[in-house]
């Protein structure tokens, strides 16, 4: 029994085995470092892509896809086109083409309708006065790995700076 124990102990303490353990540990560290580097590259690439998309959305170039500015411009342009199509002159022409004619006081018949309220001026207020705000970018899209580590470390320190 003692012999067996001694043999096992010798094998464990064999120089080639110790060296192999060290190499294994080193390789383990290396793999971990490679994983961290890979994650870093992945996150940085995604953050860069997201940032580029944001820049494209904020930019104002005709050759790209319509962006926020373009959409606002197109909306304004369409509204003006619509106003032109429904201008007084256009509407009068369409009404005349349909056989209508301007009313005179003699054409009018007034009926008393209890509770009737005359036409009032327009109220163009939106239901909520708060304009929809673009969602703010999460720090995940902009911060680097080092920023993230710093932030996590800072957030782990209790208020007052006491560990």
């Amino acid at each position: 029994m003692n012999n067996v124990t001694q043999i096992v102990q010798k094998v464990r303490q064999a120089p080639w085995r110790v060296q192999r353990q060290w190499i294994g540990l080193f390789l383990l560290g290396l793999v971990l470092a490679a994983m961290v580097a890979g994650i870093y590259l992945n996150i940085t690439a995604r953050a860069t892509l997201a940032g580029r998309q944001i820049q494209m959305l904020q930019s104002n170039t005709v050759n790209d896809e319509p962006d926020i500015t373009d959409n606002r411009r197109i909306s304004s342009d369409l509204e003006t086109q619509l106003a032109g199509l429904t201008s007084v002159e256009s509407m009068q022409q369409r009404a005349e083409a349909l056989g209508f004619q301007p009313a005179s006081p003699d054409d009018m018949t007034y009926v008393i309708v209890p509770g009737y309220t005359p036409r009032k001026a327009v109220d163009m207020s939106t239901p909520s006065s708060d304009q929809p705000q673009a969602p703010s970018l999460l720090p995940d899209y902009t911060e680097s790995l080092f920023d993230w580590i710093t932030r996590r470390l800072a957030s782990s320190v209790p208020a007052g700076g006491q560990p």
């Binding site: 411009r73 304004s76 342009d77 106003a83 005179s104 006081p105 009018m108 001026a121 327009v122």
Partner: protein, 577 residues
């Protein structure tokens, strides 16, 4: 064997260790290298100016009067060695530009220039034509290309109603500056505030831009249906009377809201470059606020109001009209040089007797008469929110050009210069129970989705409520007794004509031409509208009662329909009176 394995393991370990060290080093090196920073823009920031869209202008019912449309800036990127010949030819085809000039523009540029603008404010159809040429050129095997052409879309002012309410709106030039009318008066509000930001070029540092608020949207008191009707009536009136120019104002006398304001000439605001052609010399852009003139007999409503308010006369005061009166050493006659005998004050208004009104003003005296005229706001701008208002001229005792006879002539609207809007504002005191209201065209401002409505402002109470009721009754009776052409069956209105001679630069009055005016409001007991019509130098007739009263009637007939004003009997039945 073990040594062999050890060597292999060691070699693998060294290689992997070197790789493990090299990768982070390379990452750091790449990120911090100036070449990569130059490509990605790391650390680089660009100053970028954001121009907010110009605020829109709507009428009181939400119809767009001034909006924005898309136009293009066409430029050439000089960093890609442009095919200047092809670009010049394409610009000639699509934009009608001189190719020689284009070539010169692209070649005679300072060193380091990266981009030049060929043309701006290009219409979408022309820009699209050029884009099509660019697209076709890409498939051209000859090597000609338009790759260096760049198109940048942006907005410019557009007026979908063309010339409707043009004298009220004013216009905006290509440099986004408003001129005349609302566009100039509210230029700062409409244009918004450009914001310049330092923007990171590095996509990893992309940040959220702050929201650039567009220019504020304005809602005017103008009703486009009434405006269109008034403009049509005015144009027709000018054609039928041969008048040189005309002006019509429609206002709500209870609030001072201007529902329509038109004068001639007008112009299509989308062609503002023609402004000097359409308004040559000193032609006013908006006569309603910019052209002071001697209004003639419409002024008598102010004189009589002042006299009633001071107690100088009552409606029943009898005046013996002998056909002339001497004031300050000068003799004043009636419009027909006739003597009308005994007249009460309503008769004086009904027959528009200059002699009677001159007597009234002399009974009041200088101090009282001119104090009242100033309380009516004469001689000062009304403060209307439109650019280019003329203050008019009310000569006062003590002024170098004031003479004692002016007390007599001013009483019937001679020797005093007012704008149509000044007369309208003064008349609101009579129509509105003595309270004179501030005339304005801004109904509301819209900012961040919140609408702020203007509140009516009373600028003074020149006469008492009792006086206002008395004078409006006298004016209604005067119209009815004369069977005026301005009357409309079923509606009781107050009003007064004005036939005024036109002073010449030589100190005498033009015997061939007149200014014909009419001011009136209704319904008498609850005024919803006040209208002022002025025709300059009508040729068809020299009497306002013949020329302008029917035009006033046309305006009122339209207002009744468009504003849903029922006849007096229906309205009073509804209110239980």
């Amino acid at each position: 064997m073990r040594m062999i394995y050890f060597g292999r393991y060691l070699a693998i370990a060294i290689v992997m260790a070197l790789a493990g060290i090299a990768i982070p080093i390379q990452i750091i090196r790449v990120q911090s290298s100036p070449e990569v920073a130059g490509i990605t823009g790391q650390g680089a920031y660009i100053w970028k100016t954001f121009y907010p869209a110009r605020g829109e202008i709507y009428d009181r019912h939400g119809h767009l009067l001034a909006g924005n449309k898309t136009v293009y800036e066409v430029g050439v990127d000089l960093t890609v060695e442009p095919d200047a010949q092809t670009i010049a030819l394409a610009a000639q085809m699509a934009l009608g530009m001189d190719p020689t000039e284009m070539l010169k523009k692209m070649t005679d540029v300072p060193d380091g220039t990266q981009y030049i603008v060929l043309d701006d404010f290009v219409a979408p159809d022309k820009a699209e034509q050029l884009m099509k040429l660019q697209e076709n050129a890409q498939a051209d095997p000859s090597g000609r290309n338009l790759d260096a052409l760049h198109f940048k879309a942006h907005l410019m002012r557009s007026y979908p109603e063309n010339d409707l309410a043009s004298t009220v709106l004013g216009f905006v030039t290509e440099d986004n500056h408003g001129y005349l009318g609302v566009e100039e008066k509210y230029d700062n509000v409409l244009a918004g505030i450009p914001v310049t930001l330092l923007v990171p070029a590095d996509p990893r540092r992309a940040t959220e831009y702050p929201r650039i608020p567009p220019g504020q949207t304005l809602i005017l008191t103008i009703d486009r249906e009434i405006q269109a009707a008034v403009e049509h009536i005015l144009d027709t009136a000018l054609a039928s009377t041969g008048a040189e120019s005309g002006t019509i104002i429609v206002m709500d006398p209870r609030t001072g809201e201007i529902l329509a304001m038109s004068s001639t000439p007008r112009m299509n605001l989308n062609e503002y470059q023609r402004v000097s052609e359409i308004f040559p010399g000193e032609t006013p852009f908006n006569r309603a606020i910019s052209q002071a003139y001697e209004p003639g007999s419409v002024f008598k409503i102010l004189t009589m109001s002042a006299a009633l308010d001071t107690g100088t006369v009552t409606p029943g005061t009898i005046f013996l009209d002998t056909g002339s009166i001497t004031v300050g050493g000068n003799t004043i006659y009636n419009w027909d040089r006739g003597a009308w005998g005994y007249q009460d004050m309503t008769g004086c208004l009904a027959h528009s007797l200059n002699v009677c009104l001159a007597w009234v003003s002399t009974q009041m005296g200088n101090d009282s008469f001119y104090a009242y005229m100033q309380r009516f706001g004469l001689g000062h701008p009304t403060g209307v929110d439109l650019a280019g208002e003329d203050p008019g001229r009310l000569k006062l005792p003590g002024d170098g050009d004031w003479y004692p006879v002016d007390l007599g002539t001013n009483a019937f609207g001679q020797g005093v210069a007012v704008t149509p809007l000044q007369m309208v504002m003064a008349a609101t005191a009579i129509a509105n129970d003595g309270k004179m209201v501030y005339p304005h065209v801004l109904y509301a401002q819209l900012r961040d989705g919140h609408q702020s409505d203007m509140s009516p402002q009373i600028v003074g109470t020149p006469i008492s409520t009792q006086t206002a009721h008395t004078i409006r009754e006298m004016l209604a009776n005067a119209l009815e007794s004369e069977s005026s052409d301005a009357l409309i069956p079923g509606y009781r209105i107050a009003g007064k004509t004005g036939t005024a001679q036109i002073p010449t630069p030589y100190g005498y009055y033009d015997s061939d031409n007149i200014n014909a005016s009419f001011i009136g409001w209704g319904p008498l007991d609850d005024p919803r509208f006040l209208a002022y019509v002025w025709l300059e130098k009508p040729q068809s007739n020299k009497a306002a009662s013949v020329v302008v009263a029917p035009i006033f009637k046309q305006v009122i007939e339209k207002l009744i329909v468009l504003m849903n004003v029922p006849p007096d009997n229906v309205r009073l039945q509804n209110t239980g009176q």
